[in-house]
């Protein structure tokens, strides 16, 4: 069974992938992120925009960790 932390990690990695994918894959990767955002928001009873706003600093930390030299 997936833990809640896995949900957050997966969401952050999909957002990172969507934002860094080449243009020709952008539609597909953005759809994947949005589907996961909606699934997680529904699972915990939040609106998708609430989840995306709440994770902004987590996303920043994720990018920092990924791109640390």
């Amino acid at each position: 069974m997936r833990s809640r932390n896995d949900d957050l990690e997966r969401l952050l990695s999909l957002l990172y992938a969507a934002k860094n994918s080449p243009l020709e894959e952008r539609g597909q990767s953005w759809d994947a992120y949005n589907s996961e955002l909606e699934r997680i928001a529904k699972k915990f009873g939040f609106a998708p925009h609430e989840v995306s706003r709440a994770i902004r600093w987590k996303y920043r930390d994720y990018v920092k960790a990924r791109e640390k030299p």
């Binding site: 809640r4 932390n5 949900d7 957050l8 969401l11 969507a18 934002k19 243009l23 020709e24 894959e25 952008r26 539609g27 990767s29 953005w30 759809d31 949005n34 997680i40 915990f44 939040f46 925009h49 609430e50 989840v51 995306s52 706003r53 709440a54 994770i55 902004r56 987590k58 996303y59 920043r60 990018v63 920092k64 791109e67 030299p69």
Partner: protein, 155 residues
């Protein structure tokens, strides 16, 4: 004939792409670029696909500055960073929406031949809208609600 001189050449510094660091003034550069493209879009003198290419180039520069100032900067983004980020993001989102309207009706050249699919460009514009909400939107969302959302996702 010797292809190379045996004389020792001074060692040239290696240009490492990642060494480039963005400073605060770069928001101004992005803003100027956006204004230029906004003018192009309003005048509609050049072909839609060229306007799209300019928009994409502007977006690339914006994302680069954004990454440095809002994401990987060692400290928190300054109020000035946030102000410029919101203003430019709003402008790009509006420009993207206008371009999408035209792109949807475009029939002269099949954009697939130049590597542009409607769905991909549309996703870029969705992303701008999403980022506006993510970074600057929903002021009605309280700190308590934000904590509640994060707690649910991380506990």
């Amino acid at each position: 004939m010797a292809a190379h001189s045996s004389v020792d050449q001074p060692e040239l510094p290696t240009l490492i792409h990642d060494d480039y660091s963005v400073d605060e003034r770069d928001w101004i550069a992005v803003k100027l670029l956006c204004e230029e493209i906004e003018r192009e879009l309003a005048e509609r003198r050049i072909h839609l696909l060229r306007r799209l290419a300019s928009f994409l180039a502007c977006l690339t520069v914006f994302r680069r500055v954004e990454k440095h100032r809002m994401l990987v900067n060692s400290g928190d983004a300054s109020p000035r960073d946030k102000t410029f980020h919101r203003a430019i993001l709003s402008g790009l989102s509006g420009m993207g929406e206008m371009l999408l309207l035209e792109f949807e009706k475009h029939t002269e050249i099949d954009p697939v031949h130049i590597g542009l699919e409607f769905g991909d460009v549309s996703a870029l514009v969705d992303e701008l809208r999403h980022d506006l909400h993510m970074w600057h939107g929903d002021k009605s969302m309280t700190k308590e609600r934000e904590t509640e959302v994060l707690d649910a996702l991380t506990k």
